[in-house]
């Protein structure tokens, strides 16, 4: 035994090589699982109730304004020849719509998640790199929204930018027959990082953003070039336009909503009081060609975001499932244990 250590051939006697590492074996015994299930179940039911109740408190006012039906206010705007069409959608609120109120527009059967659509942009342009205004980094990505018919480069190029949602809305409260405009806040509707880091405008030439876009043309569907997107706020132009950024973040599903405005200012900071409202729609965005629908949604949000009953219900169901399971297991276990005792 003395020369054992000397032999080079002899395997090391360590816990690892001998597969004897100290180990711990978890046992899912009934004593752990049944109370565990019960606790999880009860916790889930608790969370579920909380979620469900929260979701119930969220107020939602949803209106389809596509104008498919003949009697709907926007029907006349659906005729393609009718340019610069405006229509008015009215609604009334019976109780105070607690603020801050978020104003969404929604589209359905609209595939922002098309693969070709999704890659149809030039990120280098959108970081304000003017070198890419005239040449495209991967040439084919933006195609066929890369050059206009005169072969002028389009900036921002690509399908996403070109198809930006361009209906605009004005909201009025009707007080005694007169319209009082509700101020809509267009700030803070896009992700902070998108606005502050990810997207960048080209550096202005001689103090003018427009000069930086020299030699380029606006996307075909746009009424105005990028540097004139918001005539009222010079900081909301170019690629750093909030609506543009919201649009550029592609929706996950063909039925989606995007944040349009927030109602946070003035008399309406506490919410929309009960009463009648009128929504003026500048109807520009055609969706009927692909059987799409447009809607506007007013909603307030809670800590869990917008209204969504699914999560609360899911928690309630899973929670009760756990509780039921723990009871079933208790029965099975009791039965098994008794028979086990009989054996012994």
């Amino acid at each position: 035994m003395k020369n054992e250590g000397k032999s080079a051939q002899r395997p090391d006697n360590t816990a690892f090589t001998q597969q004897r590492l100290p180990a711990w074996q978890p046992i899912l015994s009934a004593g752990i699982v049944i109370p565990g299930f019960l606790i999880i179940g009860l916790a889930f039911i608790g969370i579920g109730i909380g979620l469900f109740l929260t979701s119930q408190t969220i107020q939602v006012q949803e209106m389809d304004y596509t104008g498919v039906e003949k009697d709907s206010p926007c029907f006349r705007c659906t005729i393609p020849s009718n340019l610069n069409c405006t229509c008015e959608v009215t609604f009334s609120l019976s109780t105070l719509f607690t603020g801050p109120v978020f104003f969404y527009y929604g589209l359905s059967n609209y595939y922002q998640n098309f693969r070709r659509y999704g890659v149809s942009k030039d990120y280098n342009q959108l970081t304000g790199d003017t070198r890419y205004f005239k040449s495209r980094s991967p040439e084919e990505d933006c195609s066929p929204y890369s050059y206009d018919s005169n072969n002028n480069p389009i900036v921002p190029c690509g399908a996403i930018a070109n198809s930006i949602f361009n209906d605009t809305f004005e909201l009025y409260q009707i007080i005694n027959g007169t319209k009082k405009q509700v101020p809509l806040d267009g700030r803070g509707i896009s992700w902070w990082t998108d606005y502050n880091i990810k997207y960048r405008n080209p550096s202005p030439v001689n103090g003018s953003l427009a000069k930086a876009f020299d030699g380029t043309v606006k996307p075909i569907n746009w009424p105005r070039p990028a540097y004139e997107l918001d005539l009222t706020d010079p900081n909301n132009n170019g690629f750093l336009n909030q609506d543009f950024l919201v649009w550029m973040r592609r929706a996950a599903l063909p039925q989606f909503r995007k944040l349009y405005r927030r109602i946070t200012d003035g008399d309406y900071a506490a919410g929309l009081p009960a009463g009648n409202y009128s929504l003026t729609v500048h109807y520009n965005y055609p969706v009927l060609s692909f059987d799409g629908r447009k809607k506007v949604v007013f909603s307030n949000v809670s800590w869990m975001g917008g209204k969504n009953n699914f999560l609360g219900l899911a928690y309630l169901v899973v929670g009760s499932l756990c509780v039921v399971m723990s009871v079933v297991m208790l029965v099975v276990y009791a039965k098994f244990k008794f028979s086990d005792d009989d054996d012994a």
């Binding site: 395997p11 899912l28 890659v119």
Partner: protein, 1125 residues
């Protein structure tokens, strides 16, 4: 490859001839028409596969010949060529990684081979050229060169020994590097060659190169001026093999006959054929299923895409118009590229990394076998050896164990027990136990209790001393011998005694030592004369005329010697069955009883006979032998014919009994194997009685076992011919063992219920060959199936008197029988090599009969007793580990890709990936690979001790239980369930994408990231649930990978990466975490997808057959384990 290369190198023209002619020293011979130096290949050894130039193309070609690599290459190329959803990097990177790592590994190995080749090829050797010694690089040796080799040098090529510095024209070599046998072997110079090699004019005719190390036939023509050319036969004893080392001899000269790649060593260099494990077959079957899933997914998506597009406005809405190029593309071409795109999108379902992980698991896992200190044998100072790691899991699937007897079940440590001379039994009293007693001082003569005639007695002992091929080792042997003679009662340490003699078979040493105990000592063989010291301490000298070598077919050997007085004697020893027919029948009866009794006691018996040859008889025999030895063709057959002719009409003088002790724990091991549901078959060349008693001793046969015998003895029947009797017996046994046996529940559950009658089956080689090759071809299959059915219903089967090839035949028969059971062969000798190679798993024992079995085995262990742990613990664990690994890999990729597939229904079948490219690539490489690798290396679902104590646990994984279609279906359904849950859970959440408390909405990458997060956590926690053996490594990798995933996601989304075309994931992960809803949905989805698994574990647990017993021992705590070492 090697062969083809060889043919090219050596020129095809001389291949057609079946012998080659070599001119010694390149000197032309007088009577041959003209000296045509034929071309042979040079002495360069090329073991490397590649050169610097062809490495890249050749290595890549070889790697892409693997079907999996090729598949991934195709996917990669499709991604490069076609406009596909994911960038080529996602599949190119892992493929590149795998290919590079493999290439580096193979390049490094090849580099080492180059180095080793160079070392050999550039080695300086001395060549005799025109009377001068010239130093030459080894690679420049040509066939026909006369080469000088000094002591302790290795031979640079295959040489015919011409001259030795030893007087008797012999030299000693060890072939340790060739076959691992470290004993010294004697080689002989060609007789009658000139002392002056310069004057030697000779040609050598010999066969073309062939790989058998122990076969060589050739003929040497020696031309002397004005004389008829002399012809000498050449055999393996004249051939010095490249790679062997010269020992105990100052220097030798030899002529090169085979060089370079034609040497026997190089020809033996070829690798063994690859064995594939059953698990690998399962993997391939599963792969096929997944390939079908993949293709059908792609087909479904492509079809639905075109159905969907046919609806107006869907194909090309105004916001997403097609490019001109797209519009111009042919519709069918578009469909095809769409199909390919979907294939690419879903190709992750068959991951590259699975192959890498499986291979890594096997490679790393096999270290645990070599590391196991329980396999370390202090005697030989060696542990287990793993020659291939491909078969680790096969060790857990063994159904049939074929074991050799000698050296495997028994120790092959022979001890002379007794002898029987002329019918009188001589038992040597055990001096060892009576060292201090007085009875032993009388000397050996008194120990013979009942005496035969003095003459007979001495004749018998002389026969033992002469009839063998034992050598006396030179160093110190004199001393040992004198000691032995002077003080017989003094116990010599075993080791020193063994140093005295060297022989290929331990039986021979035992016999020579046995004779020594009775006063006849073999002193050695010097220049053809054997010296014996007899009882009166006189030295007798015998001239050794011929040795009729032992071979397993004849099962005997003989020597022809000439005494001082000129008598020519033939001594023969061999198995009783081969001796009895060749001696006078009346002598047989006296001895047969003893032989049979000894055999039943488990001793190895040999009979000794002798014959006095008259001068005429000898002359006939002598010429016959010489002629046969000179024959170039069919030399073996001719020799055997002469042997048979000479070895007749002998008279029997006695028999010997040698004990071969059982290996340590042989019985326990066999019992454990049987308990584990394995059928143990003993295949031995030994005789039936001996083998049977060994089987009883090993408890393979028990007292209650009914033996069904099918041997030549039972076939002897006056009424019937052998074959008819055989058929009758087979049918009878079949009725007994198969039809009348109570119906066996499918597969495993048999034979531990003691109520059943146990059957043991015995068959011998001769009968087996009738079964295999009956006279009428039609019966063959019937006999075989009857035989197999009987055997399968017996607890143990003993096949005795087997030739090596028959052993392999049996293994093959079982291997190919219904259900193709997994077979394991274990043996230690050269005669077991064929069955070791034939069986699914071949195990070599590092025993005494050389290293051939070890070299050809898949695993080698020092002792039989180690087999138990190797199979019951290592095999079981490896199987469970790899089976789980495989199932888990398929499962995790199914639930990885299923959401991506489902997403196609929501994105207009546009091949939009759900996950970011980084996630697609990293999922299998980083996020989920380490935990399963750690699991598959460390898992012990049942601790090793329990596995060893309860052999029956082995049955639970029998028949590939964890990789059958049922568990596969279970895992697949689990994957589908979870995949559906992940996707639709998030889908319902996204019915309102405003998930943040500031009212902002989430986009498609947030969707994918939430699904992916749930996915990574779920599959990792699923593995955590399955882990039964949590070491710190498991903790580290499981929690580490989850932490790494979170860290990576932050990092990946936290920086604007300059090399990325689109910053898709920028701050997506962080934003997701800022949403309470996302948290809640992640938690509930993880819990919900693991819920069924937990329920199953809890509800299934108490129902297991071993629940109670396992529950009592399995909860290992840290403390508990620490106490044990």
């Amino acid at each position: 490859m090697l062969r083809r290369r060889l043919n090219r190198l050596c020129g095809g023209d001389e291949k057609r001839v079946d012998s080659r002619t070599i001119y010694v020293g390149h000197r032309p011979c007088p009577d041959t028409e003209a000296f045509i130096p034929s071309k042979f290949c040079d002495n360069r050894i090329v073991s490397s596969k590649y050169t610097v130039w062809n490495f890249l193309p050749k290595n890549l070609f070889e790697q892409f010949r693997r079907i999996a690599n090729f598949y991934f290459l195709i996917i990669f190329l499709v991604q490069v060529i076609v406009d596909t959803p994911t960038s080529p990097v996602t599949s190119g990177l892992p493929l590149f990684f795998v290919i590079t790592v493999t290439a580096i590994k193979q390049g490094y190995e090849d580099c080492l081979r180059h180095k080793a080749d160079n070392e050999v090829n550039k080695y300086l050797v001395t060549v005799l050229e025109d009377g001068r010694s010239v130093k030459k690089e080894s690679e420049k040796i040509k066939v026909g060169d006369v080469v000088e080799v000094v002591e302790d040098e290795t031979f640079p090529c295959d040489l015919i020994l011409l001259q030795s510095s030893r007087e008797d024209g012999t030299c000693f070599v060890t072939t340790a590097s060739l076959d691992g046998e470290s004993n010294h072997k004697t080689h002989y110079t060609v007789p009658d060659t000139e002392k002056d090699l310069q004057a030697l004019t000779a040609t050598i005719e010999c066969e073309q190169p062939q790989p058998d190390l122990y076969k060589f036939v050739g003929r040497m023509h020696i031309y002397k001026p004005e004389q008829e050319p002399a012809v000498r036969s050449l055999g393996p004893e004249n051939l010095l093999l490249k790679g062997a080392t010269l020992k105990n001899t100052k220097k030798i000269y030899g002529v090169a006959v085979y060089t370079g790649m034609e040497t026997k060593m190089a020809l033996n260099y070829q690798g063994k054929s690859q064995k594939r494990s059953a698990v690998e077959k399962s993997i391939n079957a599963f792969l096929l299923v997944y390939l079908c899933i993949l293709i059908s997914k792609a087909v479904v998506c492509t079809t639905l895409k075109y159905v969907w597009q046919s609806k107006e406005g869907q194909d090309e809405p105004w916001y997403n118009q097609k490019t001109q190029k797209e519009k111009d593309t042919n519709m069918y071409l578009k469909m095809f590229t769409d199909f390919l795109s979907f294939m690419v999108l879903f190709n992750f379902i068959i991951p590259v990394s699975m192959y890498v992980t499986v291979e890594m698991q096997k490679f790393l896992g096999s270290f645990f076998i070599t590391w196991d200190k329980d396999f370390f044998d202090p005697e030989i100072q060696e542990g287990a050896l793993v020659n291939t790691s491909d078969l680790n899991e096969e060790l857990g699937q063994v159904e049939y164990v074929f074991t050799d007897k000698t050296g495997t079940l028994t120790q092959n440590n022979m001890e002379f027990i007794e002898c029987c001379i002329d019918g009188f039994q001589y038992k040597h009293r055990d001096t060892w136990s009576e060292v201090d007693g007085f009875t032993v001082t009388d000397g050996p003569v008194n120990k013979l209790q009942q005496k035969a005639g003095q003459e007979k007695e001495e004749l018998f002992l002389r026969a033992l001393c002469l009839c063998h091929t034992v050598q006396v080792k030179e160093a110190g042997s004199e001393e040992v011998l004198t000691d032995q003679v002077d003080g017989i009662d003094e116990m010599r340490p075993q080791l020193e005694e063994e140093r005295g003699f060297i022989a290929s078979s331990p039986d021979e040493i035992a016999l020579v030592k046995g004779a020594m105990k009775y006063g006849f000592t073999f002193l050695g063989l010097e220049s053809k004369s054997m010296k014996i010291k007899n009882r009166e301490n006189n030295i007798e000298e015998y001239k050794l005329l011929h040795v009729l070598n032992f071979d397993p077919v004849r099962r005997r050997m003989s020597v022809i010697v000439q005494t001082k007085s000129g008598e020519t004697l033939l001594f023969c020893k061999g198995a009783d069955s081969s001796i009895f027919p060749r001696v006078k029948p009346e002598e047989v009866d006296r001895i047969r009883m003893h032989v049979e009794r000894n055999a039943t006691e488990g001793y190895r018996t040999l009979c000794v006979a002798f014959k006095q040859l008259s001068a005429e008889e000898y002359a006939v025999a002598d010429t016959g032998l010489r002629e046969a030895r000179l024959a170039l063709q069919d030399r073996e057959e001719k020799l055997i014919a002469v042997y048979n002719q000479v070895e007749t009409g002998m008279s029997l003088i006695g028999a010997t009994a040698v004990e071969d002790r059982l290996q340590e724990e042989a019985a326990e091991t066999m019992e454990a194997l049987q308990g584990a549901g394995m059928k143990v078959w003993v295949l031995t060349g030994d005789k039936m009685e001996t083998a049977k008693s060994t089987c009883y001793a090993c408890r393979l046969f028990q007292r209650g076992t009914e033996l069904l015998e099918l041997t030549l003895r039972t076939l002897e029947d006056e009424r019937l011919k052998r074959e008819e009797k055989l058929r009758e017996l087979l049918q009878e046994y079949h009725r007994k063992a198969v039809q009348d046996a109570p119906p066996v529940k499918a597969g495993v559950t048999r034979s531990w219920s003691t109520a059943n009658q146990d059957y043991g089956f015995i068959i011998d080689g001769a009968t087996l060959s009738i079964v295999m090759n009956p006279q009428h071809e039609v019966d063959a299959s019937q006999y075989k199936s009857l035989f197999l059915q009987i055997c399968q219903n017996c607890t143990a089967v003993l096949c005795c008197r087997m030739a090596p090839l028959q052993k392999a035949q049996i293994v093959k028969m079982v291997k190919t029988s219904k259900g193709s059971p997994i077979t394991l062969s274990i043996g230690d000798g050269a005669n077991d090599v064929s069955m070791i190679l034939e069986a699914h798993v071949g195990i070599g024992i590092k025993g005494k009969e050389g290293r051939q079995a070890v070299r050809n085995s898949d695993y080698a262990i020092p002792k039989l007793k180690h087999l138990k742990k190797l199979l019951l613990a290592h095999g079981h664990l490896y199987y469970v580990r790899i089976a789980h690994l495989v199932q888990y890999f398929f499962y995790k990729n199914l639930c990885f890709i299923l959401p991506q597939f489902l997403y196609q229904f929501f994105c207009g079948y546009s091949q939009q990936p759900l996950y970011d490219a980084a996630y697609l690539t990293m999922y299998n490489i980083c996020f989920t690979s380490m935990p399963i690798l750690a699991y598959s290396l460390l898992e012990q679902h049942i601790s090793i001790e329990i596995l060893l104590d309860n052999a029956t646990l082995y049955r639970e994984i029998a028949n590939n239980a964890m990789l059958r279609w049922r568990p596969f279906l279970y895992w697949t359904l689990l994957g589908i369930f979870q995949g559906l849950l992940f996707f639709f859970g998030v889908r319902f959440l996204f019915s309102n994408p405003a998930l943040q408390d500031n009212g902002q909405v989430f986009g498609n990458w947030s969707y994918g990231t939430i699904v992916f997060t749930v996915l990574v956590f779920t599959v990792t926690l699923k593995l955590a649930l399955d882990t039964r053996h949590w070491t710190w490594i498991n903790h580290f990798v499981i929690w580490g990978s989850l932490a790494f995933y979170v860290f990576f996601s932050f990092f990946w989304g936290g920086i604007i990466w300059p090399f990325l075309k689109q910053q898709r994931l920028y701050f997506v992960f962080a934003n997701m975490l800022s949403s309470v809803s996302a948290w809640l949905v992640i938690i509930i989805l993880i819990i919900l997808s693991l819920l069924p698994e937990i329920l199953l574990v809890v509800l299934r647990k108490p129902r297991g057959p071993h629940s109670r017993q396992m529950a009592a021992v399995t909860p290992l705590s840290y403390k508990h384990l620490k106490e044990r070492y």
